[in-house]
């Protein structure tokens, strides 16, 4: 999200101008709530995260040095609050979200439903039924995969920043992200893929060993 045009509002808010602060809330409350919902996975916790985020922003606004855009700063605060809440909920306040072995990729889920999409993704994203479907698919991912996808692909964090936020290695983040992408691709393509143009999975996807298969 481009927040470069917020400079004027931020300057006024820092000087104590409430309407400017309120304008910033109005602009970003939905993206921040959406980010929170996608991380914590339910309405009540997402509301807590939004409340805590804007309270922190209000308290620390004068410390914001405007090196990053306002939205970047805001979304970092929101994801930190959301991740903290997830950890607290599990009673693991100091333990990072669980690490898993970086596999060699042999056990990756192989694509099954392979078809070009019948619709442009930007257009499809405006359809409420598609919106509901993609949020459901995201909500049904394992938490560790969901978080990797939300931070890295949706929020646009670098691999390093996303790994740091989750307290895992970059290698681990990449494995989780690949699994998330493959699982979401499968789910969403089953709904949006053009059935008439569906193709069979490649033959070496169906078997377990084709190391010397040269294509």
């Amino acid at each position: 999200m481009d927040g470069n045009e917020d400079g004027g509002l931020v300057t006024r808010a820092k000087a104590g101008d409430y309407p400017a602060f309120e304008a910033l809330i109005s602009k970003y409350e939905r993206p921040i709530y959406t980010l929170a919902r996608r991380i914590v996975g339910n309405v009540e916790d997402a509301e807590d995260v939004v409340q805590e985020t804007f309270t922190s922003v209000l308290e620390h606004l004068t410390d914001f040095r405007e090196e990053a855009s306002f939205y970047t700063w805001l979304s970092r605060i929101a994801s930190n609050h959301a991740l903290k809440l997830l950890r607290k909920r599990r009673g693991l306040s100091t333990v990072p979200l669980d690490e898993e072995a970086v596999s060699d990729g042999r056990d990756l889920p192989r694509p099954e439903f392979i078809a070009p999409w019948a619709r442009d993704p930007i257009e499809a994203g405006k359809d409420p039924s598609v919106r509901a479907l993609i949020e459901k698919a995201l909500g049904e991912l394992d938490e560790k995969y969901r978080l990797a996808f939300v931070l890295r692909d949706v929020q646009g964090l670098s691999t390093e920043a996303a790994a740091r936020a989750l307290g895992i290695s970059e290698g681990n983040l990449k494995v989780r992200l690949l699994r998330a992408r493959l699982q979401l691709r499968e789910r969403v393509t089953r709904a949006l893929g053009d059935e008439a143009s569906r193709v069979a999975p490649p033959s070496d996807h169906e078997e377990t060993r084709h190391d010397d298969d040269v294509r």
Binding site: P116, G125, R131, L184, V188, D204, H205
Partner: protein
């Protein structure tokens, strides 16, 4: 490169961070393997779809309560300005 190898290199390819030598093998596999080409397209479309998605609407009552509480906090922080 097999279809399985391609899956493993998929992230780096989609993110534009693939090693040039691997990229060449990746693309020559894609040129001859329609299913893999579609999978790569699907992954890109999936990411675009989630990125472009309309955000959730805040529950109306929560939104009102949020504004009220932030306004109260603002009054305490800048008592002379509101």
């Amino acid at each position: 490169m097999t279809c399985d190898d391609l899956l493993k290199a998929l992230n780096d390819y989609v993110d534009g961070r693939i090693d040039p030598a691997v990229c060449e093998r990746f693309e020559s596999h894609l040129a001859g393997c329609n299913p893999c080409q579609i999978v790569v397209d699907n992954i890109r479309q999936t990411i675009t779809l989630y990125k472009a998605g309309e955000p959730y609407e805040l529950p109306a009552e929560f939104r009102r309560e949020l504004r009220r509480s932030l306004r109260d906090q603002w009054k305490r922080k800048f008592p002379e300005r509101i």
